[in-house]
């Protein structure tokens, strides 16, 4: 079977050559067959999905619905879904059922997309390998011994393995682009503020951005049109019209300028990965684009800057997980202090604790100026580098990650080694820019990602370049010819929801006693 695309499935559905129910059932079968190996899904919402599929089919039968009506997909388990648990990959939220839908969830449902489940992820989106998940690591469909990347590893693996044609992700420091690169699919992170963060559980508010995994840039464009747009519930969301991205991807690249920063081709870049990226630049030249050199002199500051800003924000964002109102609560505590300490000790994993502690430290009295304030200055310098680069180029290109997929466990002992994997993606978040990773060949038989970065709100240009590349190269159509490993713990909850109920008193308010 050809890896399914959203655009292709949309055509099938409109021609009534397939029903939404059939597509959803197929996804559910694939999940049933492979999720035990991959561990891409934390929760599968089979019943709900079939109900939604039938509703979509009814619409389609009446000749109604939009281009995405009836298409199955999955949500990263960081997006709050009413009535379906949202775990964020953490024990802290193992049984948490949000009483509301995230804006992204709402919009995709309104477009007729059918959610089949919630995908695995690094705990609270903190990680680059999906190994910090309380629900266990996700395996890379290309090689079960390897990581799919992270933090949106579940979404990436699910799309790469053909379990779903598309899935949402979030990208705080590369959490969409890096796993997309490692699993050989298209992963798109829009401009900061382009997609609402409402209902997306916060890790680092000034960096977090929702985006999409799909088989192609064209699919990403179709899905982004639905996800993007101003949301009055998110003060940081941009009040700008959303272009019809899918209509703009066909433009010719003749005479367009691709900026290539030498900083992206440093000693840390795997030689084979570098070779694939350079070959991809050659394809762009064949398409009529010009390669120009641009410089990002402060790129080296991006990892230290990120590892001050992101933990600082996370230390504050995760303070609400205190055992008082929702989520895990330590049992048999004797005092308030013990409630806090034990709840958080039991509910959070090591990486989350590490970042909370780092963040608390860099914000504390006497250190704020030395760390947080300096990081903000460095952040401005990095953003300024990009601004100047975009004066000379329409798009910036380079590798997504320094290496292809690494082995599970390979970097878990050394957090800094893990952090360094995001060297090419993190600066893009610090500057708030749109970026995409598209497959551009193989290194050591594993997919390599090409990263394209656009100016702020230049999603159309990024998607246009990516799509034009995909008309000239077909890496994105490659299927995985391996079977997964066996004997892994099955972490699948096919019931979907935990059945915890809420009564509504004026505003949404869980009543009754907090769970002990």
């Amino acid at each position: 079977m050809q890896r399914p695309t959203v655009a292709g499935l949309s055509r099938l559905l409109r021609k009534r050559e397939a029903s939404s129910r059939e597509l959803v059932q197929q996804c559910l079968q694939e999940i049933e067959r492979h999720n035990g190996d991959l561990n891409a899904f934390i929760t599968v919402t089979a019943e709900q999905a079939l109900t939604a599929a039938d509703a979509a089919d009814a619409l389609l039968a009446r000749g109604e619905g939009g281009p995405l009506t009836g298409i199955p997909f999955a949500h990263k388990d960081i997006f709050c879904t009413r009535g379906v648990r949202t775990t964020c990959g953490s024990k802290m939220l193992e049984h948490f059922v949000a009483p509301y839908d995230a804006t992204v969830v709402e919009r995709m449902a309104a477009a007729g997309l059918v959610m089949v489940g919630k995908t695995n992820m690094d705990e609270f989106a903190m990680g680059s390998s999906n190994e910090t998940s309380f629900f266990g690591p996700v395996r890379n469909p290309w090689d079960p011994e390897r990581s799919p990347g992270g933090s949106s590893g579940g979404s990436a693996a699910a799309v790469a393995a053909g379990l779903v044609p598309a899935a949402t992700g979030t990208d705080t420091g590369g959490s969409i682009r890096q796993p997309a690169a490692m699993t050989g699919i298209t992963g798109f992170k829009p401009t900061y503020g382009r997609v609402s963060r409402y209902g997306m559980i916060a890790f680092a508010s000034s960096l977090d951005q929702a985006g999409i995994f799909a088989a192609s840039a064209e699919d990403a464009a179709l899905l982004l049109e639905v996800m993007a747009g101003f949301d009055p519930r998110d003060s940081t969301s941009a009040d700008l019209p959303v272009p019809a991205y899918s209509q703009e991807i066909g433009a010719s690249l003749k005479g367009r300028r691709i900026g290539v920063p030498p900083e992206f081709f440093d000693a840390g870049l795997d030689a084979e990965c570098g070779a694939r990226v350079r070959e991809a630049l050659g394809v762009f030249e064949q398409l009529g684009a010009k390669i120009v050199e641009v410089s990002l002199p402060h790129l080296g500051l991006s990892i230290p800057t990120y590892y001050i800003v992101a933990p600082a924000e996370c230390s504050s964002n995760l303070a609400r997980f205190d055992g008082v109102r929702f989520g895990h609560r330590a049992a048999g505590v004797g005092s308030l202090e013990e409630l806090y300490k034990r709840t958080r000790q039991e509910g959070f994993g090591a990486e989350v604790k590490r970042r909370i502690m780092t963040g608390t430290y860099v914000l504390s009295a006497g250190y704020y100026d030395a760390y947080y304030l300096q990081a903000q200055k460095a952040r401005r310098l990095i953003a300024e580098d990009f601004r100047q680069a975009f004066a000379a180029a329409d798009i910036i290109a380079g590798p997504t990650a320094p290496t292809a997929a690494f082995r599970l466990g390979e970097k878990t002992a050394d957090p800094v080694q893990m952090y360094l994997n995001d060297i090419y993606t993190i600066a893009v978040n610090l500057a708030g820019l749109p970026g995409i990773s598209i497959p551009c060949g193989y290194a050591q038989d594993l997919p390599v990602g090409l990263q394209l970065i656009g100016p702020a709100f230049g999603e159309a240009a990024v998607l246009n370049f990516a799509h034009q590349y995909q008309t000239a190269a077909d890496w994105h159509r490659h299927r995985i010819a391996r079977s997964g490993a066996d004997g892994l713990p099955r972490m699948i909850d096919v019931t979907g929801s935990t059945g915890r109920s809420f009564s509504v008193v004026g505003t949404e308010m869980p009543t009754g006693k907090p769970r002990r």
Binding site: S235, T236, L363
Partner: protein, 479 residues
Amino acid sequence: MTWEPVIGLEIHAQLATRAKIFSGAATAYGAAPNTQACLVDLGYPGVLPVLNGAAVRMAVKFGLAVGATVARRSVFARKNYFYPDLPKGYQISQYELPIVQGGAVAIALDDGSHKTVRLTRAHLEEDAGKSLHESFHGQSGIDLNRAGTPLLEIVSEPDLRSAKEAAAYMRKIHQLVRYIGICDGNMQEGSFRCDANVSVRAAGAAKLGTRAEIKNLNSFRFLERAILFEIERQIGILEEGGRVVQETRLYDPDRDETRSMRSKEEANDYRYFPDPDLLPLVIDEPFIEQARAELPELPEARAARFVAEFGLATPDAETLTGARETADYFEGVVGALGGREPRLAANWVVGELAAALNRDATAIEASRVDAGALAGLIARIIDQTISGKIAKEVFEAMWAGEGAADEIIARKGLRQITDSGALEQAIDQVIAANPAQLAEFRAGKDKLFGFFVGQVMKATGGKANPAQLNDLLKKKLPG
């Protein structure tokens, strides 16, 4: 050794918005626990704050009213600490760049002079919820109805030098926030509360002493008592050669003393940083001008106008402008009288009416005698239908709900005797009945003039026109 107290206040005024500062939940007081807290107030995963523009407009109005700088760009920051009634684990406040910077108010001192008290700043923030420690069998209940209620924290410079001044300043701010309609000032409901920073130093010393902060004072009297106690306490320590410890203290009204809170509370490092969920608050000129246009005439300006326009005495003008409702009522009376006799109207509002309102603990806007009705009564004094004295009787009847002034005057037959024939008759009778007093008066005992006035008044049931009576007596008594 003489000691000089140095006091600065931090006042928390709850802004009178309908919705909370970062969510759409209602701010009304007294609802059942947790019925006015939405997901944003509860700090649920994934929710985000959205600033309520009404709270911003109110803060701007305050800034304009105290002549402060309204920051064109201010920043919301997170104040991080753990407490069960703080759902997010941080309070959204303003730290480095508050919305209102500087400004000043004038307070009246006992000798009638005025003193300027400078403001450091006023910033927007959200209130926390309430922890209820009783009736939960050793557990604590959390009520988050108040969580997210908008507050304006108004910080003064350490310009106050006595408990009395501090109370006068707190009253002044209380009057002002109510006057410009940004806070209901209800202290029982916690809408207006205050922390006092108190220190003492040797008179003439330049350096400030170590301060203690007294938290959560919710009445003017408690503020005054607490500061008095604290000044004495600190002087006592210093005179014994000891040192004042910087700490947070609580005032216990039952024992009239301040006590140290556990110093554990002091160990908080709030780790302020700009809230990344909220963009910097940028205020443009049109927004400020709109707020300015919505501001009522401020008390000082209005009092000055009352003096200039109506010829009122300054103390009366200040009393009348103490609350906007009082000033509005007064102007309503003056308007209904077509501008006649504003001083008489002022006397009635600050006199009889104020006494009646006090007696019945009624707000002026709910007065049983409205401005139009009171003007109806005063009009009868002006046109000499009744005397001022009879008018008091009529007023009481009006207060008791017996109808309008004219009805009561007619029903009770209270029109004063302005018929000089009838009055002369009454005077002649009184003179004839008191020959001894008449003789004494004529022998030079001028004081007896009042006796005759009283007698005639008695004889006419108080209905004699006093001025007319005076004139006639002056003619008749000397013989």
